[in-house]
C-alpha cells in the first residue's frame, strides 16, 4: 500500500524532505501506527516523530485525528499544530 507522504514546517525540516513515497507493512492501520513506523525509518524521521502528541495529520487533504484509519489513503500529510493568521 504505497502512500504519498507530505511534511510541513519542522516535521519537514527534521525528516529532511517535504515529500516521500512510503509502503508501510499491512499491520499499520492508523495514523498513529504510521507515525510510530516512520519514526524507525531514519534519524531524521525519529527526530520528527519522537513525540506523536505534537503531530497533526491530514488524509487526502482532510484533517483527521491520529486514530484515523489510513486504509485507502492516497496521500497523508503530517505537520505541527498550525500557526497561521
Amino acid at each position: 500500500m504505497a502512500i504519498e507522504m507530505l511534511y510541513f514546517a519542522w516535521v519537514r525540516e527534521r525528516v529532511g524532505m517535504g515529500a516521500e513515497r512510503v509502503d508501510p507493512p499491512a499491520d499499520i492501520a492508523t495514523v498513529a501506527d504510521l507515525i510510530g513506523w516512520l519514526a524507525g525509518q531514519s534519524g531524521g524521521h525519529a527526530a520528527a516523530f519522537e513525540d506523536a502528541g505534537r503531530i497533526r495529520a491530514a488524509i487526502d487533504d482532510r484533517f483527521v485525528g491520529l486514530d484515523a484509519a489510513i486504509g485507502g489513503a492516497r496521500e497523508i500529510a503530517l505537520f505541527p499544530p498550525v500557526t497561521g493568521g
Partner: protein
C-alpha cells in the same frame, strides 16, 4: 441564515493586498456594515522576517470552509479571506478578514470568529527569522485554541 447567498472570496497568495480595494468590494454589496481584521508582522526582539509555509492544496479549501461556516452562523452578504505565504518582514500584512452584513454586530462577530478559526484551522506555519541568524517555528498558543473553541464545533 441561509436566506442570503454570500459572496465568498478566498485567496492564498505571496503578494500583498490592498485593504481599501478589498473592503470597497464588500461595501459595494449593499449591506451597510463592513467589518475587517488585518494581521501585520510585528517587529521587536530582533525579528527580521516571518516565513509562512502552507499546505498548498488544503489552504484555499480550508479557508473556504471557514468562510462558509461563518456564513451559516451570521447573515453575511460577503466574506473575504486573504492569507499570504512566503517571507514577510515587520510591517507587512499577513492576513485580511473582511465581512459585509446588514447588521453591524453580525459583521464584527463574524470577523472575530473568522480570525479565531483561521488561526487554529488553516494549514499555515510561521517561522521567525532573527537578526542573529536564528530561526524558530512559532508554537501554537493555547490561548488561540481557547479563542477558537468558544465558538463551538462546526455546523457542517
Amino acid at each position: 441564515m441561509a436566506a442570503i447567498d454570500p459572496v465568498i472570496d478566498v485567496r492564498v497568495q505571496a503578494d500583498d493586498f490592498d485593504v481599501g480595494v478589498e473592503l470597497g468590494r464588500l461595501e459595494a454589496l449593499g449591506g451597510g456594515a463592513v467589518g475587517s481584521f488585518t494581521g501585520i508582522v510585528r517587529g521587536g526582539d530582533g525579528l527580521i522576517a516571518l516565513v509562512l509555509e502552507h499546505h498548498p492544496v488544503m489552504t484555499a479549501k480550508t479557508l473556504r470552509q471557514i468562510a462558509e461556516e461563518a456564513a451559516a452562523r451570521w447573515p453575511l452578504l460577503g466574506v473575504t479571506l486573504i492569507h499570504r505565504h512566503g517571507r514577510l518582514e515587520p510591517g507587512a500584512r499577513i492576513v485580511l478578514v473582511g465581512t459585509a452584513s446588514p447588521h453591524r454586530a453580525a459583521a464584527l462577530e463574524a470577523t472575530m470568529f473568522l480570525i479565531d478559526w483561521l488561526k487554529t484551522r488553516a494549514p499555515f506555519w510561521k517561522q521567525e527569522c532573527f537578526a542573529d541568524g536564528g530561526k524558530t517555528w512559532v508554537e501554537a498558543r493555547s490561548a488561540d485554541n481557547a479563542a477558537a473553541e468558544k465558538w463551538g464545533a462546526a455546523h457542517g
